[in-house]
């Protein structure tokens, strides 16, 4: 075991080199911990890009040094999020921005952080019972309603539909499902065959869609409350645009071919880049400029369809997405 000690001395030396560089800066620094749900989902990477862009612009504007401290867990785990909130406080971060995997689990940690003088803001997924000072994100109930009304338009007000609902534990997703169901009640010709939960990876989600299609061959509409399955390419060939129409939340680069092919004629895009960008603005408003920040700021959904595909593609590119297909950038 003593050898293990030696191994760590070596590790330590590497650490010295790595850390040495970070000692150089001495300007007034504001460190904002960014804790999204997981570090593999591209929407959160876009949020990070947005946050970092805002940090850079605002640093120059106000003559301070704003640093984004990325503390997102590699896999979704609310306990780990709570631990990371506490760590951020212990290590002297000045503010915390979090998208809650499970509101109940992080509420305690948010309140502890606030009690120790670190303001907390939530985005995307809120913890409404906590002492966070602000939330930025879509109105989930409205989002669900919008998905349904778009889908009803596509189906001409009648048909059998299924809801793809992501993981069961996320309160924001559950509210979207509620909104979708609420809206569906307005259309007597539409019947919901089921709400389907799954692991939130593109593969698992796509597999779930195909499983449901096999079980209910007469489905002619899908409401995706998140874009997971459209990050894969398989549904491009496995779904027939003449038989089934999809309306989905999110419109990232990988999903755009589905619009073009008519499988998903309408995507309701969250401007995920703005999660980071707007939230950082709000935090600086409160922390540095001492402005009043409204408790809830609503993000508007962007309706993406064949008509505005080119504009949206260019917008994505401008937000730092590197994987936008060239052909869409050239569209009018």
């Amino acid at each position: 075991m003593n050898r293990l000690g030696k191994a760590f001395i070596v590790l330590g030396c590497v650490a010295v080199l790595a850390v040495a560089s970070s000692f150089a800066q001495a300007k007034k620094t504001i460190k904002i911990a960014l804790i999204a749900k997981n570090s593999t989902n591209p929407v959160f990477l876009a949020a990070r890009t947005g946050a970092e862009a805002a940090a850079k612009e605002l640093s120059a504007k106000h003559g301070i040094d704003i640093v984004i401290d990325w503390r997102t867990p590699p896999t979704e785990d609310a306990q780990v999020q709570a631990q990371r909130i506490a760590q951020a406080v212990n290590e002297g971060d000045d503010a915390i921005l979090v998208s809650c995997s499970e509101a109940g689990k992080v509420t305690g940690a948010i309140n502890d952080a606030v009690a120790r003088g670190v303001p907390v803001m939530t985005f995307d997924s809120d913890a409404p019972q906590s002492k966070r000072f602000a939330f930025y994100g879509v109105d989930d109930l409205r989002t669900g309603e919008q998905v349904m009304s778009e889908l009803a338009k596509q189906l001409g007000g009648k048909g059998k539909i299924a809801i793809l609902a992501g993981n069961q534990n996320a309160p924001n997703l559950r509210r979207r499902v509620d909104g979708l169901k609420k809206e569906a009640a307005k259309y007597p010709g539409i019947q919901i065959v089921g709400v389907f939960n799954h692991i939130e990876t593109p593969q698992d989600a796509a597999a779930e869609v195909l499983r449901v299609m096999n079980a209910y061959p007469d489905i002619n509409g899908w409401g995706f409350i998140g874009g997971w399955p459209l990050f894969t390419k398989t549904l491009l060939t496995d779904l027939d645009p003449n038989k089934v129409k999809v309306v989905s939340v999110d419109a990232l680069s990988a999903e755009l071919p589905y619009v073009e092919k008519g499988i998903a004629p309408v995507l309701l895009a969250q401007s995920t880049y703005l999660w980071g960008y707007v939230s950082v603005e709000k935090i600086i408003d409160k922390l540095v400029l001492k402005k009043d920040v409204p408790e809830i700021t609503r993000m508007d959904l962007v309706r993406v369809s064949k008509e505005n595909l080119g504009t949206w593609a260019r917008q994505l590119k401008a937000w730092g997405f590197t994987d936008v297909p060239e052909e869409y950038l050239k569209l009018p």
Partner: protein
């Protein structure tokens, strides 16, 4: 060297403690410092009560379960279901309290504790009875039960996130009267469970029998040991520690879902193994398992505090586990060689 000093240095604990202290020292030196918002004093980013307690708290949930898992591993088995037992005990407790709504906080805490421990114990007993009765390898049984237990929690809770009463949170997050936001209870429970586990393994008849079975189950049978009963007891204890961890963890974080502690069984097994437990049985210790859990959490902490790219977390932890076990085996082999030479 004086023989007792040499024994202290040769003991496995000392190796682990040395590594933990070393890593702690590295963190203290390189983690930098910040100005505390409340007091205005400069505080080391690592060496402060908040970070140290937080690290111990993060480790406590793994460590409590690792004490039970070590017993299973010493007996020559394995328990993959502890994370699911944690989730099942937690959701059942939270749902029961939600529907019963006790007004007395003392009763609330007592019932919650009984429920978590009871369900943990029952799940463990079920594992043990199946391992012994069906004569199927414990890997398979507990792999299956891992999904079954989580599935029961899933169906019962309808995958909702259930808040637990504040009474629980205020007990587990007690500051023992101090005004600081320090919550040492999970750490104290971890230490208590470890101490009890260590005493159980080294000082009781059952503990000795667990080592004997793992060392040579045939010779144990030929010595009149009741293998079945002992093994059932071992799995029951593993389940019990998962129940304890669930009580502390769910109360600490304030809500329960069926997705809690997903994948924790692997951290738990890793803790026991880093603590020197041998998967072929007969070897391991409760204290080392706890230290193993602390080390793993500390490595996670280090990645963050030393500003390594956190995307390397899995690679670093995985490598550390393999390195720790390889070094441990090397050490054992060298000791054996030295013994053989006389």
């Amino acid at each position: 060297m004086h023989p007792t000093i040499r024994r202290v240095f040769n003991a496995q604990q000392s190796g682990l403690i040395l590594v933990i202290l070393l890593l702690g020292a590295i963190l203290t030196v390189f983690a930098g410092s910040h100005v505390d918002r409340m007091t205005g004093r400069s505080v080391n980013n690592f060496l402060n009560f908040h970070t140290l307690t937080q690290t111990a708290t993060d480790a406590s949930f793994f460590a409590i379960m690792a004490v039970g898992a070590t017993m299973v591993i010493i007996s020559g088995g394995i328990d993959l279901s502890v994370g699911s037992i944690y989730a099942l005990a937690g959701t059942t407790m939270a749902m029961a309290l939600r529907s019963w709504q006790f007004s007395n906080p003392f009763v609330t805490v007592l019932v919650a504790l009984m429920l978590c421990l009871g369900i943990g114990l029952l799940c463990g007993l079920a594992n043990g009875v199946m391992v012994v009765g069906l004569r199927v390898h414990p890997f398979i049984i507990t792999l299956g039960m891992m999904w079954v237990f989580r599935g029961i929690a899933f169906v019962m809770s309808k995958a909702e996130s259930i808040l637990v009463p504040d009474a629980l949170t205020s007990v587990v997050k007690t500051t023992f009267g101090s005004s600081s936001a320090l919550y040492p209870l999970p750490m104290l429970v971890m230490i208590a469970v470890t101490a009890l586990g260590a005493i159980y393994l080294s000082r009781t008849v059952m503990g000795r029998h667990i080592y004997a079975i793992g060392g040579n189950s045939e010779a144990s049978r030929y010595s009149g040991l009741r293998l079945g009963r002992i093994l059932i007891g071992v799995y029951a204890l593993s389940g019990l520690t998962a129940g304890i961890a669930a009580f502390v963890g769910i109360s600490y974080y304030g809500s329960a879902t069926c997705g809690d502690a997903t994948g924790y069984e692997l951290y738990v097994i890793a803790s026991a193994v880093v603590g020197g437990a041998s998967l072929s049985g007969g070897k391991g210790s409760a204290i080392n398992a706890m230290l193993g859990a602390v080390l793993i959490v500390l490595i996670r902490q280090a990645i963050r505090q030393l500003h390594f790219d956190q995307n390397y977390e899995w690679i670093i932890i995985g490598s550390a586990i393999v390195i720790a076990v390889v070094l441990d085996q090397l050490n054992t082999r060298l000791t054996a060689k030295r013994l053989a030479k006389g």
